[in-house]
Symmetry: C2
Subunit: 221 residues, 2 copies
């Protein structure tokens, strides 16, 4: 396993994060690098989904991963063990990343070498939605055991996301989760949101997700 | 169903939240009211656990519930439908409650009428752990589908809690979750933390949890 690179990012010096995020997107555009920001509750399956995606996308795109956590390196270890290029970002206790913190991570990852950089944001349905990271697209994962009512309770997360991934659909028989309702609630927050149902564990639906990502990466070039 | 009382709480005017939380605990002590703060990720089962607890505790203690959410009243509706006294606290987009916001809720609930007030905090493993609400005891719920590694990734939550409830143990056969490991990781963050395994759905373990709470409420009087 490669050595784990840990970046301790500092809070942004920019007062206007939104303007800085727009600058970062422009920088990425010039380098033909697509940044995808993945957000979810703790334990919704961000890391497992990335591993499942890598199996399909690694031969189609050059991909780097940034794992953001308050502490620990377990997710980055998992990625490196799977042969994926990844770095660990530690947020120093903060519940989100802003655009400048993201920029610090991209620099260390040497993002100009990649078609696609995926940021696995801090597990949290509130704060990460409030800060534009400079990503080209924002994605949220909701897992079946969490319940179909999350778009009602965490509105901003669904408003800012381009795609809702519903994960752990292999566990649908064991939970009271209504697929139609979750689409309805998510569209109530954002009529343009796409919804893809997957099981990162069994692989069901993951090729649809890979195609969604690849299409947007190609559009960005 | 009773009318739903919604409190829009304002950010605290106190710079020193910790000192204010100590003041609030003293006020609660004088009124013989025990405040329990329940925290977890979104979807770990806070509301379902409370409903299961109410069945056991409602004849033993006089209990009021404060449901804190960024938006929606679904949890409070659930409580009122079950015949539980409850109010809804809206945080105005904030990811946590501080002591003064909690005090505003307690006032509206008329907390002096209750032996036990339970605050269901915003679903979030990061921010709520950073703000002392004035609660006598702090509890966190981790559900089996989230995985046993959460104490590694969200250290502060486990450091500040007196009890870890592991919920949804009826789903253990379907997930890769190690009961011994989660105890080990939680104790690594806080050697004094108690751990109780439950299924709010089937009721398994809930009487142990009810006894834990009742003992602490009696100790406070």
């Amino acid at each position: 396993m490669s050595e784990i690179k840990i970046i301790d990012v500092k809070r942004s010096i920019f007062e206007d994060n939104t303007a800085d995020a727009d600058r970062l997107r422009q920088e990425l555009k010039e380098k033909h690098t697509f940044l995808l920001n993945i957000m979810s509750s703790p334990g919704a399956g961000k890391t497992t989904t990335l591993l499942a995606l890598m199996k399909i996308l690694k031969d189609r795109l050059h991909i780097g991963i940034m794992e953001a956590n308050i502490d620990s390196v377990v997710d980055t270890k998992t990625m490196l063990n799977a042969g994926v290029e990844a770095i660990q970002i530690h947020t120093g206790g903060m519940c989100h990343l802003d655009a400048d913190m993201t920029r610090q991570g991209l620099k260390e990852l040497k993002s100009e070498n990649f078609d696609l950089v995926i940021l696995e944001n801090v597990g949290n349905l509130v704060c990460p939605a409030e800060f534009d990271t400079g990503a080209v697209k924002n994605v949220t994962i909701l897992s079946v055991p969490e319940g179909d009512d999350k778009p009602l309770k965490y509105p901003l997360m669904y408003e800012v996301c381009d795609l809702l991934i519903v994960n752990k659909i292999d566990t649908l028989p064991y939970f009271d989760f209504d697929k139609e309702k979750v689409i309805q609630y998510a569209k109530m927050r954002n009529p343009n949101i796409d919804v893809i149902f997957i099981s990162a564990k069994t692989g069901e639906g993951v090729s649809d997700l890979a195609n969604w990502i690849e299409k947007h990466v190609e559009d960005w070039k």
